[in-house]
């Protein structure tokens, strides 16, 4: 692909997403005090640019490789039967199969130390919005995209009939990270929403809500969480680099032994106390200024 065109596409995408999500975040804010240019927004912009300009090509290569490798696993007659089904049935099959695989793949990312090293980059965001949705390690992206597409690659759903679903899922994934609170009512049992996914980004690593497009898998496997308020704080309990390049290299470096000997619950509690102390300090200084 022409690099100039990629640059143009990236700019257009950034403009479009800003146009879609900024008004929503202003009118229906989940955290009203959070501004557009909140702290570390530049880091998230780097992730956005990296994903669109650099790592996307690696992901395409990995997908093509997977596709080529998996192509002959399922007989062509079976694939023809699949493509002969109505599009809505194919869409349901894709959602159910992909969500099942990504649900367990995602739970594994939170359980297995090696996968968590890469996935915690995504969870290191202390402020959630449409831009923070792009904070993801490239190797973590390949893992997720590989898993989410596995049933499609094996069974062979045609892109032509399901492109609308893919586009919807793409943009919805950004929406659920946005700083929006717009309760869907009973529909939230069928389709993921920010109010659910924000809890997934709570300080507690095993908080729940692992499913992708629909929370049904969370309901079935008992990990559905939906309190009636926003989490107090997002992120991870341990300290993590703030810089884009340091964040990308951190999962690849040898693991440090120092602080992590404490159990996860203890680290989460310590992080909450530190947060409360910092907030109290801010309020005290504001009070002093007023006095």
């Amino acid at each position: 692909m022409d690099y100039y065109k990629t640059l143009e596409g990236t700019g257009l995408s950034l403009l479009f997403l800003a146009l879609v999500f900024i008004p929503m975040e202003k009118v229906f804010p989940a955290k009203p005090r959070q501004g557009i240019f909140r702290s570390h927004w530049v880091t998230d912009l780097f992730y956005f640019l990296g994903q669109y300009l650099l790592w996307g090509f690696g992901v395409i290569w990995a997908l093509s490789y997977f596709s080529f490798w998996l192509n002959d696993i399922v007989p062509h007659t079976f694939r023809h039967k699949i493509t002969g089904q109505p599009w809505w049935l194919q869409a349901i099959e894709v959602i159910v199969l992909s969500d099942f695989i990504i649900y367990w793949g995602h739970r594994l990312q939170h359980k297995a130390g090696f996968l968590w090293r890469f996935h915690k980059v995504h969870h290191s965001a202390q402020h959630l919005d449409w831009l923070a949705a792009h904070r993801e390690h490239p190797l973590d992206s390949i893992y997720t995209i590989g898993l989410i597409n596995l049933p499609a690659f094996i069974i062979g759903f045609p892109l032509e009939t399901l492109s609308a679903l893919i586009a919807f899922r793409g943009i919805w994934a950004i929406y659920i990270h946005s700083n929006v609170r717009l309760p869907l009512g009973p529909l939230r049992m069928l389709i993921g929403s920010p109010e659910l996914h924000h809890w997934h980004h709570d300080l507690d690593r095993d908080r729940g809500n692992y499913a992708n497009i629909s929370p049904i898998m969370d309901i079935i496997f008992g990990t559905y969480v939906c309190p009636d308020h926003e989490p107090e704080k997002f992120g991870i309990p341990e300290s993590f680099p703030k810089n884009y390049f340091a964040q990308l290299s951190q999962p690849l470096l040898p693991k440090k032994k120092s602080r992590s000997s404490e159990p996860a619950e203890v680290r989460t509690t310590i992080a909450r106390i530190n947060y409360d102390e910092a907030e109290t300090g801010k309020l005290e200084s504001q009070l002093e200024e007023l006095n």
Binding site: M1, D2, V27, I60, S64, N149, F153, E160, A167, I174
Partner: protein
């Protein structure tokens, strides 16, 4: 209060409209790629590029206005690279 309600309804409608427009754009792009390619002087001319199709798989929110010209002899080699696009489906990396 009433003004506030109007603003909320307007914003929501704007959001829905843009999302639907985006989906229509992407669907239309894929449809044009698979069904409306022209062949002029031995070259296949598409209203969108192969990169746009690839982006459906790897980065569904990528928007591109680029047009592509693929020589026919290259097109013969194309399916090996395009299998992911033509024969299968992908979706978002976000969780």
């Amino acid at each position: 209060m009433r003004r506030n309600k109007t603003l909320r309804i307007f914003t929501l409608a704007f959001f829905c409209l843009l999302i639907l427009g985006f989906i229509a754009f992407k669907t239309g792009a894929v449809d044009r790629y698979f069904n409306q390619a022209e062949v002029v002087n031995g070259e296949r001319k598409d209203s969108i590029s192969l990169g746009e199709i690839d982006s459906i798989l790897s980065n569904p929110t990528m928007l591109s206005t680029s047009k592509s010209v693929i020589a026919i002899d290259q097109k013969i080699k194309f399916p090996a690279k395009a299998k992911a696009g033509k024969d299968s489906l992908a979706a978002t990396p976000k969780k």
